[in-house]
């Protein structure tokens, strides 16, 4: 290495800085290369070592998450997680963020987010069977919020509906903490035959490297890099551009890839996600311990005058990279041509362990693959544990009647129905949707094993995580597990999407570390491993970080004939509460939705998640459901018991009469104690049997009352009618959106 010539021609310290590499990182680049990198090589280091691709701040902690279980086929490290679901089938799923692009251009940002996560799943040979999305927006009063909601929702719908994957679930929060940084996390679940899973590790020196899908344009090339001197004099045409999604091409790509995957032509395959051709080719070669030669002039291009730098760094959508078996090129070509997609052999595998980039025969870049991948930075960033919040003052908690409070909660931004959103998503295509959006978990029947279904959900309660990251992380996993349990499913595994602020701040890093610890605790206790995930850091504007938001997506399996939902089914059915704390229906109002919306206080520690209790109650509920005694089931979360009962009444269009011990208090009615479920059973005899079972299992149980009537009654006090509940619940979002 020559210390005297630290920069290649045309590069200086500013260019290096614009590429996001620190001085010490650049030193490492020099020692790996043994010379100064040219601009193309620098660009490659820059994206490979970016936070997004290298997980440099988060790796240390992600490694602590439990990823094993007998049913896990592939955990983190592949494009998506893979779990065994019986019948020689696997479920393949992952969640991914598209936060920043969605803030800049909500429709296209969200749309391309859906496109990206779909590709992660069908790359592995799975047909996508469902989409979910976890969204966070700023305060409703913020002047940007309405426009962002509208754009993001129509973008998710516009892409997923066109591709024809039902969007069956998700979650949405509004909070001023997201005013400058919305979160758009998309999840896809796919199904494949167990013995037909495709991985990305390249194999076979000499095998052709093939590019398929859309052409490459100048999409999403990093702004900072484009501002460097080299590109400054460029015309308007050379400016980096926002990625526009093309769901039609994505649909063709799915069909073409799955058709080719049914043959024996593919050795390995990898979607081109963030950092496009660079990270896909690097990853394939690196996992296979091989080298690769790419002839970049063969890459199908959308615009004239594109250069190797742009081709390697473009983030154009709807593209894939594959290694084919020799001699299968024509078969593959004919399939992609039939689907009217680009197909180009752009290189081949070598045994050099190097990435050699050629441009019309001339070598324009040459980098060692393993050293680059292995030297990718990993930081142990300083972190400061979050001091758990002190108990909140409960002054003013009783200043409002329960009837008023319930209506207010049901029509609050975080309590209101999301129908306005999910009705813009096609949740029916495929004809397998058993439980639509609006319940605890969505349920989608398996096309190839029609007596079974997958249950899926996405959850996180950021206000809990903010108040106590460990407990909040735990709660997010537990709530996912509970939601799957509530429809009767056996929870199998999760994917996570860790959305946080700037990890260089010890306070933020402390939130991340705490959340990882909480997730880990819950995964271990609930036998609920992490099989895939994504990290999105630096969600900050003007030094203001988002509330820590580890979104969790979960998948479970259930027999179609055992599925239950939350709707009250018939008049006169006993209503039971399982898992309540000793001596009360509930008591934890700290950090609750009630305290925030009714009392105006966002304070206090989150409710305690006792994982042993969680497991005991959940396992009993699931057993009862599978024995067929449960007619409706709902877990309690935001807004506690009364919100839960209101959900059940609304879904069944039927009232309920309950009796609490003592006078109804906000604590009992709206407390957010964890690990609780409300069930209905067919008659008193069944109720007695369930109570005996619960007592024998050590699960607290009490009979709350009985279904029927047109209103919600508590201890003989008349409450709102179901019609009034509906008006409150359904009214807010359409009114807010001006629909």
């Amino acid at each position: 290495m020559s210390k005297t010539v630290p920069y290649a021609e045309g590069i200086d310290a500013n260019v290096v800085r614009d590429h996001g590499l620190s001085e010490s990182e650049y030193e490492t680049v020099l020692s790996i290369m043994g010379r100064a990198p040219n601009l193309l090589e620098l660009g490659i280091f820059s994206v490979m070592w970016s936070e997004h691709c290298s997980y440099k701040s988060s790796k240390k902690w992600l490694k602590t998450l439990p990823t094993q279980a007998p049913w896990v086929v592939h955990g983190p490290g592949e494009n998506a997680g893979v779990i065994d679901i019986g019948d020689d089938l696997v479920a393949v799923f992952k969640m991914e963020s598209h936060n920043h692009p969605s803030y800049i251009e909500p429709y296209q940002g969200a749309a391309t987010g859906v496109g990206g996560i779909l590709r992660d799943v069908f790359t592995m040979g799975a047909r996508p069977v469902a989409n979910l999305n976890a969204l966070r927006f700023g305060a409703p009063e913020d002047p940007n919020t309405r426009h962002l909601v509208s754009g993001v929702v129509s973008g998710i719908g516009g892409y997923g509906n066109c591709v024809g994957v039902p969007c069956v679930g998700g979650e949405v929060n509004f909070h001023p903490g997201y005013n400058g940084n919305i979160l758009v996390n998309a999840m896809t679940v796919g199904v494949a035959k167990r013995d037909r899973i495709f991985l990305s590790a390249a194999a076979g020196v000499g095998n052709p490297v093939v590019y398929v899908g859309s052409r490459t344009g100048r999409d999403g090339i990093h702004g900072a890099t484009m501002a460097s001197t080299e590109f400054n004099e460029g015309s308007e045409e050379k400016r980096p551009t926002v990625q526009v999604g093309d769901p039609f091409t994505e649909k063709l790509l799915i069909e073409a890839c799955l058709e080719l995957m049914a043959t024996d032509a593919i050795v390995s395959i990898q979607d081109m996600g963030a950092a496009g051709l660079t990270s896909s080719s690097f990853e394939m070669a690196s996992k296979g311990g091989l080298g690769v030669v790419l002839d970049l002039e063969r890459v199908p291009m959308r615009e004239d005058g594109m250069n190797p730098y742009e081709l390697m760094l473009s983030e154009s959508q709807e593209r894939m990279l594959m290694v084919l078996k020799p001699g299968r090129e024509d078969l593959a070509r004919s399939i992609f041509e039939k689907w009217e997609l680009e197909f180009a052999i752009i290189g081949h595998l070598t045994d050099t362990g190097r990435m050699e980039l050629r441009w019309h025969g001339e070598t324009v870049g040459d980098l060692p693959i393993d050293p680059l991948a292995q030297a990718s930075p990993e930081y142990d960033r300083p972190w400061q544990p979050t001091v758990p919040a002190r108990p909140a003052s409960m002054a003013g908690v009783d200043s409002i009647t329960w009837q008023e409070a319930l209506l207010k909660l049901l029509s609050s931004p975080d309590g209101a129905s999301r129908r306005w959103i999910w009705e813009q998503y096609d949740y029916l295509v495929g004809g397998n949707t058993m439980q639509r959006p609006g319940g605890d978990a969505a349920v989608v029947r398996l096309e190839d094993a029609p007596s079974k279904a997958l249950a899926m959900t996405a959850d996180c309660t950021p206000r809990y995580v903010e108040a106590d990251p460990v407990m909040g992380g735990r709660q997010a996993v537990a709530e996912v597990w509970r939601n799957l349990t509530a429809v009767g499913a056996v929870p199998l595994a999760i994917t996570d999407n860790m959305n946080f602020g700037n990890p260089e701040k010890p306070r933020i890093m402390g939130q991340f570390v705490g959340a990882c610890q909480g997730i880990r605790d819950a995964c271990l206790a609930l036998d609920f491993p992490v099989v895939s995930g994504n990290v999105s850091l630096y969600n900050e504007t003007n030094n203001q970080a988002i509330p820590p938001t580890p979104a969790i997506g979960g998948v479970g399996i259930v027999s179609c004939d055992k599925v239950v939902d939350l709707a009250f089914k018939a008049e006169g059915q006993p209503v039971l509460l399982l898992g309540a704390p000793e001596g009360a229906e509930g008591h934890w109002l700290d950090c609750s939705l009630y305290l925030r919306e009714i009392v105006g206080r966002e304070a206090g520690p989150p409710p305690v998640v006792d994982l042993a209790h969680e497991r005991r109650v959940g396992d009993l509920v699931r057993a009862l459901i599978s024995e067929g005694v449960v007619t409706a089931c709902h877990d309690l979360s935001d807004g506690g018991l009364l919100m839960g009962l209101a959900d059940m009444a609304l879904a069944g269009n039927m009232g309920v009469r309950i009796h609490l011990e003592g006078t109804p208090s906000a604590f009992a009615l709206f407390g957010e104690d964890q690990g609780r479920y409300v069930l209905t059973v067919a008659n008193e005899a069944e109720a007695t049997a369930v109570i005996e079972r619960a007592v024998a299992t050590g699960v607290s149980v009490r009979k709350l009352g009985i279904t029927g009537g047109t209103e919600l009654m508590v201890n003989g006090e008349e409450g709102p009618t179901v019609a009034a509940l509906r008006e409150a619940h359904e009214g807010w979002l359409p009114a807010y959106m001006g629909a």
Binding site: G217, T241, Q243, V244, F248
Partner: protein, 80 residues
Amino acid sequence: MKAKVTISFKPGVLDPQGRAISHALAGLGFEGVGDVRQGKVIELDLAETDAAKAREQVEAMCQALLANPVIETYAIELAK
């Protein structure tokens, strides 16, 4: 006064619809069709009768609603 706003994708931005149209035209046997771009045209009836003021007003509408400056450009024409 009538105004016509033509909104198109910025150069370099992918235009999937335009591409599909070009493809479909080729499929229908039309030869020699190169790049195709699809845009929007919005025609407005304005009460304003002064051309300069009308242009100013429409310019403001484009900024506020009609065009998406992140990916689109627009052109305004006025007519009696």
